[in-house]
């Protein structure tokens, strides 16, 4: 019988457009073909010996996959066999991050088929899609608020390799939103706690733990073994680091961020779409945008945003649907409104533009204007002396009566206070006359950030004896008075 060879494969058949073989069945014919032209084999078959999914074999006018006896179908001398690689493609829209090769290497056991049956019966996922999910490697930066729902749903969906980066331990104040951890996990490494829940949910996946803070020295090394990066961080330096490392390593960045009642989500750093820096070339000045630790966050919000991120990651893996590429989704949980902003790729973007100036990772703390953490927190910071909680206690006990200024919000004062005079930071300028320039003042807030700003403001206004309570009221609770609740 005659086998027609398509143009791309003729380099392996000494340019012959067709090859004649003696064969009883289709598989005989293909075996005879690859015996005479062994280089064809790896183009037609996977390493497991299965026909590659994009290779169509037609016996006369019939796809052998749909013949009752498939490859065992008997053939006659007058039959012709055609090898037809598929022809498909499409405009940018969905980004297929998973290639054929990876998908073809994985198999699904009967247990897995049962587990994923609700996926398998949907044509948009199906067996191929489920194999793509299993072959996929997704890295979650952070196993906290966003990381919890993200990792749980990706694990449940059958994403084969889940990487987690986190150096924290579980704190009771995490449990209001970080649903992957339990009360009994308090004090335990977040990675170990998360791993236990994830493998409990789905034993067919692999968890890779990185017990470290992501930094410029380790980011590219950690990213290299993953296909998609999901950013669940809560601070600007790491957010820029994740973005730049994604652009440099050519991996999509599934972004999400949350604050109080509001969230954002997008997919950055794909080839065709914008990156985080196209949207925000420069970070906000330090302190302008409070973190969730400072400003609070509605516990359910990371659930909402994290699940959107997980959905985007799964769509990227399946190569289906319309990902949030070039779109910024804005979520307002209080009004329960979802809005969308169109984002454009910035041709002059310093990292993903035509002539990038950022070609390697930098010092992101410095880029975001955050001074390096000094070992001795008693050292003056921007000329403001830092006072340790123990020192404040000693002075109070010694009867020195320093004036304690609390610059937090009134509702925070209700949670815990050390009897300070309350003037919220944003009203300090107007109410500065309430203070005495000659008196020694110790300023505090929750953890030391806002009080530092307040102290600097006071110093500029002529107050010469201003101290900042290092670590705020939370440090006071830890080091001096555990009866004062930490929050």
């Amino acid at each position: 019988m005659k086998i027609h060879i398509p143009t791309p494969l003729r380099v392996y058949t000494e340019k012959q457009a067709s090859v004649s073989v003696d064969a009883e069945t289709v598989s005989d014919a293909l075996a005879a073909l690859t015996a005479t032209h062994p280089d064809l084999k790896k183009h037609l078959y996977t390493e497991e010996g299965k026909l590659r999914s994009f290779v169509n074999i037609y016996l006369n006018d019939d796809d052998i996959r749909y013949l009752p006896e498939k490859e065992a179908t008997p053939v006659k001398d007058s039959d012709t066999l055609s090898i037809i690689p598929s022809i498909a493609g499409g405009a940018p829209g969905a980004t297929a991050v998973m290639n054929e090769v990876k998908r073809e290497e994985v198999t699904l056991s009967n247990d897995e088929i049962q587990r994923y049956s609700r996926h398998l019966i949907m044509p948009e996922v199906g067996r191929d899609g489920q194999k793509k999910l299993k072959a996929a490697r997704v890295l979650c930066i952070g196993a906290g608020g966003l990381g919890s729902p993200l990792a749980l749903y990706l694990a449940a969906a059958g994403v084969g390799t889940l990487g987690l980066v986190d150096a924290d331990v579980v704190d009771s104040s995490n449990l209001q939103r970080q649903v992957i951890h339990s009360t009994r996990d308090i004090g335990r490494s977040k990675l170990d706690s998360a791993e236990e829940k994830l493998t409990g949910l789905n034993p067919y996946i692999r968890i890779v733990k990185f017990n470290t803070m992501l930094n410029s020295a380790n980011a590219l090394e950690i990213f290299k073994d993953f296909d998609i990066i999901v950013d669940g961080t809560d601070n600007f330096p790491t957010r820029y680091l994740v973005n730049d490392a994604c652009v440099l390593s050519g991996k999509p960045n599934v972004y999400g961020s949350i604050f109080r009642f509001e969230g954002q989500a997008s997919v950055f750093a794909t080839k065709e779409g914008p990156c985080y820096r196209c949207l925000y070339p420069e970070p906000p000045p330090p302190g302008l945008v409070p973190s969730c630790a400072e400003g609070g966050v509605l516990g359910i919000l990371p659930g909402l945003v994290g699940v959107i991120q997980a959905t985007e990651a799964i769509k990227l893996i399946l190569g289906n649907g319309e990902p949030l590429i070039g779109r910024l989704l804005l979520i307002d949980a209080l009004g329960m409104r979802f809005r969308e902003l169109k984002l454009r790729k910035d041709a002059d973007c310093p990292v993903c533009g035509a002539n990038p100036t950022v070609t390697k990772l930098m010092d992101y703390q410095q880029f975001c204007g955050i001074p390096a953490v000094t070992e001795k927190t008693t050292e003056a910071k921007n000329l403001i002396p830092q006072m340790q909680p123990e020192e404040l206690k000693r002075r109070i006990d010694a009867g020195e009566k320093p004036f304690i200024l609390d610059v937090r919000e009134p509702h925070e004062y209700q949670i815990a206070n050390i009897g300070g005079h309350l003037i919220p930071l944003n009203t300090l300028q107007q109410r500065i006359s309430e203070l005495d320039t000659s008196q020694e003042i110790v300023v505090h807030c929750k953890s030391g950030g806002r009080s530092q700003q307040a102290a600097e403001l006071l110093q500029k206004a002529g107050f010469m004896k201003v101290h900042n309570l290092a670590g705020g009221i939370n440090a006071w609770s830890e080091k001096v008075d555990p009866r004062s609740p930490k929050y």
Binding site: S86, A96, K271
Partner: protein, 153 residues
Amino acid sequence: MLTITPSDYNALRAHGEETYPHECCGVLLGYADDGTNRVIAIERAGNTRTDRAHDRYNIAPEELIRIQRQARERDMDIVGFYHSHPDHPAQWSQTDLAEAHWIGCSYVITSVPKGTATVTTSFLLTGTTEEDKRFIDEPVHIETATARQKEAK
């Protein structure tokens, strides 16, 4: 390089305008000649991706078999494929590369913003395997029939 006659070139661009806002697709027939894919005829194909024809195309293998058979009878080969990108640039996408398996063939893309064909580009799929395949830009030479006849002589 890809050489094509003005009438075939115009026809494949017009095809993209006709199917807008959906992607069109078709096959380039001719012969490969020392690194040049010479197009002698083009054959329209149906886009089977009716689920999302605005940004996907797929040619049914049955149709390819038929086109290939007819080409063989006229002593021609498949030398490439064309499709359109409605409202997207004439640049290959990751999907295009992932789903391109005809190494040595030309993949012609026409950008059709708002229903009017603008840029038409061609990319040659090179490499040796699925793992190292890549698209390289390829010049498109539009040659008139008389020039072609002269050359044949």
